[in-house]
């Protein structure tokens, strides 16, 4: 009896977890689904076909999101990796790490609102490059925090060993440090990719509606009460993280900070 309730409870839990994905997919394929109908009047691929063929702009939003997120993830992972080394070996490591948390812990939307004056002056307002810079300011501290646990006595002794054997700093990075950090680099890349991919508030402020990433599109469709396209955008937004999960769970979940 005890085993039975556990089985049913866990089955219900799995259904609960899968339900949002199924519902959003259903809604993205629905049309004319009015209250109080439990099933839509139309169910098919019409919305999805229109996305490919029409001017909804979802494909371009998908490409813009991919481009920005890919750039943010690449830059913050690599720059974060190299700069985190300097911080980890610094005598004031604790204070600097604490400072790193500040931009990360602040609501990105508030951070962006207070920074918008400077973006305006620098001519970065409403441009993809502006959104990239703003998102980088949030993803970069994350990368620094992420890599802080990589550097320590072990990596220091590897570097010293390379120096003793006549190798220079570049060789230490190329032949030793980067290979042993490979897994962390991959995880950090995907984590920062997702930080950028999921970002809405900061993008809406700095992009001022001109840089239409997928999250911006979802919100626009909600405002227009176009729930079918809203659900479709949600499906596109969820797709990359689900793929990452399928490939490796660690890419999506890291014990965070």
């Amino acid at each position: 009896m005890k085993a039975n309730w556990k089985f049913f409870f866990l089955a219900a839990l799995v259904i609960l977890v899968v339900f949002p994905f199924a519902y959003l997919l259903l809604l993205s394929m629905a049309s004319e689904w009015r209250f109080p109908e439990l099933w839509p009047a139309y169910f098919g691929m019409r919305n999805w076909e229109q996305v490919v063929s029409s001017e909804t702009g979802l494909i371009s939003s998908f490409l813009v999101s991919t481009g920005i997120s890919f750039s943010v993830a690449t830059m913050s992972t690599f720059i974060g990796f190299f700069i985190s080394r300097g911080i980890a070996y610094h005598p004031y490591k604790r204070t600097i790490t604490l400072l790193t948390y500040f931009p990360y812990i602040l609501a990105p939307v508030v951070f962006a609102a207070c920074l918008s004056y400077f973006f305006l002056k620098l001519g970065l307002f409403g441009k993809p490059v502006g959104v990239f810079v703003a998102q980088f300011m949030v993803a970069f501290p994350y990368a620094l925090i992420f890599f802080s646990s990589f550097w320590g006595e072990k990596t220091k002794s590897y570097e010293e060993l390379v120096a003793t054997l006549g190798g220079n700093q570049l060789q230490a990075f190329r032949k030793v440090l980067l290979p042993i950090a490979k897994n962390m680099l991959i995880i950090c890349f995907f984590q920062t990719f997702l930080i950028s991919w999921f970002e809405y508030g900061l993008t809406s402020i700095i992009g001022v509606g001109k840089v239409q990433t997928l999250t911006i599109k979802v919100f626009l469709f909600i405002k227009e009460s176009n729930f079918y396209y809203g659900a479709l955008s949600c499906c596109l937004l969820i797709l990359p993280p689900v793929l990452l999960l399928y490939i490796n769970k660690r890419y999506v979940f890291n014990k965070l900070i």
Partner: protein, 292 residues
């Protein structure tokens, strides 16, 4: 000479790194804070003419900020409390079953859902013409959509709290399961039972303290994240009171230039609160770890 050259190069690279860190990691935060502070005192801004404390006084007198702070704290606190309780219960009750490959994968799936999608989904389920309302109609519990209770954009923030719980609980569950395994809580529990403790005592005096002691910093961090959440309360919240981020953006983005400064007052106070919380959280416990 051959030794000092690489050393100077190394120092140069390290200095460039620190300059970059300062430019990207520190300067924007300081610049944003200083600009908001100056704006709040009327020292910058098109509609401002010089130093004044009237925006701070009017913000205090209007009460909107205090209401918003209390509202945000209660919403974030309730969500965290319920999420921690559910995640702890699931960890203690089902940790062995959750190792099954299907369940292990299912636990990770909610992490693929961003806040804006979670809010949209909650709206689709709980709105007056939403999925649950349709089910209620099908069962004959309501005859019109307006008879369905207010579960989104409602005064008790039910929709917001439900969404926060759905976002945070999976993270906490995975975290607790990891800590449970890494800290060998099972072995500690067995030891306590062999020393005469009963099941209740083992849970309350051994398992829970070990797990919570290892995770309280992250729980605190999630609370701060929820305090500043934007998308979810923007879609599911009501007009007044609003959560902090929504209130700040509403004030800063409005067309009435004379009220912009009040938005920056709230932004300054919010930044001070969050920064102080970060200092308190991390100045003692700075040994952050990662799942490598």
């Amino acid at each position: 000479m051959t030794i000092s050259e690489p050393l100077s190069l190394k120092n140069k690279a390290s200095n460039i790194g620190f300059i970059f860190f300062g430019l990207i990691g520190i300067l924007p935060f300081v610049a944003a804070f200083v600009y908001a502070l100056l704006y709040s005192f009327g020292l910058v801004g098109a509609a401002n003419s010089g130093f004044t404390t009237e925006f701070w006084i009017s913000t205090w007198q209007s009460g909107a900020f205090i209401k918003s702070l209390v509202y945000s704290t209660v919403v974030a606190g309730t969500s965290i409390f319920i999420s921690v309780s559910i995640a702890l219960w699931l960890t203690l009750k089902f940790r062995k079953e959750l190792e099954h490959p299907i369940l292990a994968f299912a636990m990770y799936l909610p992490l693929a859902i961003p806040g804006i999608v979670a809010a949209f989904f909650t709206f689709q389920l709980l709105a007056k013409a939403g999925f649950f309302s349709r089910i209620a109609y099908a069962f004959g519990w309501i005859t019109e959509a307006r008879q369905f209770p207010d579960l989104v954009n409602d005064p008790y923030a039910i929709g917001i709290i439900a969404t926060f719980i759905s976002i945070v609980t999976p993270f906490l569950l995975l975290l607790f399961l990891n800590v449970y395994k890494n800290e060998r809580v099972d072995e500690l529990a067995q030891l306590s039972q062999s020393l005469g403790a009963n099941k209740q005592q083992t849970v309350w005096r051994v398992s829970l303290p070990v797990v919570l002691n290892k995770t309280w910093t992250l729980i605190g961090l999630y609370f701060i994240f929820l305090l500043g959440a934007y998308e979810v309360p923007l879609i599911l919240g009501q007009e007044s009171p609003q959560m902090l981020s929504v209130l700040i953006i509403r004030e800063i983005k409005q067309y009435d230039l004379s009220r912009l400064s009040e938005g920056y007052v709230v932004a300054v106070i919010y930044t001070v609160i969050v920064t102080t919380a970060a200092v308190l959280l991390f100045s003692r416990k700075n040994d952050v770890k990662h799942e490598g």
